[in-house]
Amino acid sequence: MKELVATVKQVENIAENVWALTVTLPESAGEIKGGQFLNISTGDGSRLLKRPFGIVKAEGNDVTVCFQVKGEGTVALSQAKKGDKLAVLLPLGNGFVIPESAKNVVVIGGGVGIFPLVPVICGNKDKKFYSYIGFRNKNCACLLDEFGKSEKLTVVTDDGSLGKKNNAVNAYFEDIDNVSADLIIACGPPVMLRALKQKMQEKGVKTPCLVSLEERMGCGIGACLVCVCKKSDGSNARVCKDGPVFDINEVQL
């Protein structure tokens, strides 16, 4: 875990309102696991909080994150120029820990929640991934080449403009008899994760399932207790430090 000043290498608009930002670190930040995230300053000094983004790719000292432009901070980031200096803190969070024994992994992603799933697929070449990803419409679709590394890829959209008109959770459950999964990993909006948990309970699916959560964060390292989620036993867990990846049965969604 290091606080570094990174140099912007590339900023690219990859889908409607979605940007890919690649920065070069001045030194290695150590091993980066799939599902871990970084905190990055917006480059606007009046914004004191760094933004937490899932790491999509880490190659040498280059790190790529993708993000949706939502507020003034992400607008500023989308306008970063090559050579700009941005403070980064990384790698953060636990990431997806994929057990050796899991050979067939189902991947469920919705919207901008697909980003932290990418390095899991790209970084575990000994495993077979069956991916179900959903977007609002075809203009919002991105990173299809990366998800194309899956053994099987199903893309759906809310309006049917790309793939079937469906959502990612339903797409998996409609296909469930064709996939014998050892593990499910998922990331997406809370409504998607809730639907996944509910469907798994309804259908009696006992496959281990890891979900990556999102919450507004302060420090990003577990000190400030801003980004908590509720565990099943009613206690709090820190999304940034104890997560963002949790067993689906361990947290209240």
């Binding site: 875990m1 290091k2 606080e3 300053s41 009046s46 914004r47 004191l48 909080l49 760094k50 901070g73 403070a87 803190l89 919450e215 507004r216 964060m217 302060g218 420090c219 990003g220 390292i221 577990g222 000190a223 400030c224 207790l225 801003v226 980004c227 908590v228 989620c229 009613g234 206690s235 709090n236 430090k241």
Partner: protein, 303 residues
């Protein structure tokens, strides 16, 4: 290399830079990024007698130059801190300041007696604006401040007492004097300003608690004035805070009368903020030929 060590009511700090309560946990997380033994002290996450789960999320929002938080005193309870975190901090060689809060007046007495003799200092949080039950009420009126200070002091036989003042008050000088009358060994200020951030599209406040405490660079001029006023109203030492982001900011607070400073929100903007601030203070003092940081305290000349 200037001498940065300071002493506040008998407690020696290797430098005047203290981590502000609620931004630094119990130091363990930041210690994964740098060795926190380089800072002067740590004011712990606000401790209560029993553990607390805090407020619903979202707990944080942002404005220009400021952040807004309403964590709601989530903490594992004072006993858990003593058993699990106190030794870690002590072994780091930093001054350990236990920040404490109560829901009732009596809570303050209990928690102070639990901590007496175990920590370097106790900091009373009587100004946390997020807990409906106590917090705010005790920190606003001078008579309440004097009462909670006196009760806490009577339960501290060995450990000095620092009272952290709320800025959301009629007169900071009056309240500083009330803490002094109650027996405070020193005071710290400012805690956060109450505020609100709105999501226009949702037509709702951003944070679940609706209102929260405003901190960060944007509050610095207001905090500086209050620290100046408080420092000139009392004889006990003052620890200043409010939007300190750089070594120069820290020195301005000391010039206004603070003997030490606390750094909070800056830790979020830059995890290395505190070591950088210490270096910057050193650099400024060296450039100005000042050999001892204490020489800067209360040297502000008014126009």
């Amino acid at each position: 290399m200037a001498n940065l060590s300071v002493e506040i009511c008998g407690v020696k700090l290797k430098n005047p830079v203290i981590a502000a309560s609620g931004t630094f946990g119990f130091g363990r997380e930041f210690d994964e990024i740098y060795d926190i033994s380089c800072i002067g002290g740590v004011s712990t996450k606000g401790l209560t007698n029993a553990s607390r789960l805090g407020n619903p999320v979202p707990r944080i929002a942002e404005g220009h130059g400021v952040i807004l938080n309403a964590v709601g005193l989530q903490n594992p309870g004072v006993k858990h801190f003593i058993e699990n975190d106190l030794d870690f901090l002590k072994n780091k060689g930093v001054a350990v300041i236990a920040n404490v809060a109560g829901s009732t007046l009596e809570d303050y007495g209990t928690i102070c007696s639990t901590l007496d003799g175990l920590v370097d200092m106790v900091e009373l949080n009587i100004s946390c604006p997020n807990v409906r039950a106590g917090g705010m009420a005790l920190g606003i009126k001078p008579e309440n401040i004097e009462e909670v200070t006196a009760l806490s002091k009577s339960n501290l036989k060995k450990t000095p007492l620092m009272v952290k003042l709320s800025p959301n008050v009629e007169s900071i000088a009056t309240n500083a004097k009330a803490a002094e009358r109650g027996g405070a060994d020193c005071i710290s200020l400012v805690n956060t300003f109450t505020g609100m951030v709105i999501d226009l599209e949702k037509r709702r406040p951003v944070i679940a608690n609706n209102t929260g405490g405003v901190s960060g660079a944007g509050i610095k001029p207001i905090a500086l004035k209050m620290v100046y006023e408080a420092a000139h109203a009392v004889k006990i030492p003052v620890v200043g805070m409010g939007g300190i982001m750089s070594g120069k900011d820290a020195l301005e607070f000391m010039m206004a009368g603070a003997k030490a400073v606390q750094v909070g929100t800056a830790n979020f903007a830059d995890a290395l903020a505190m070591p950088k601030i210490i270096n910057e203070m050193n650099g400024w003092l060296d450039r100005h030929g000042i050999k001892n940081v204490n020489e800067i305290v209360d040297t502000l000349q008014l126009n």
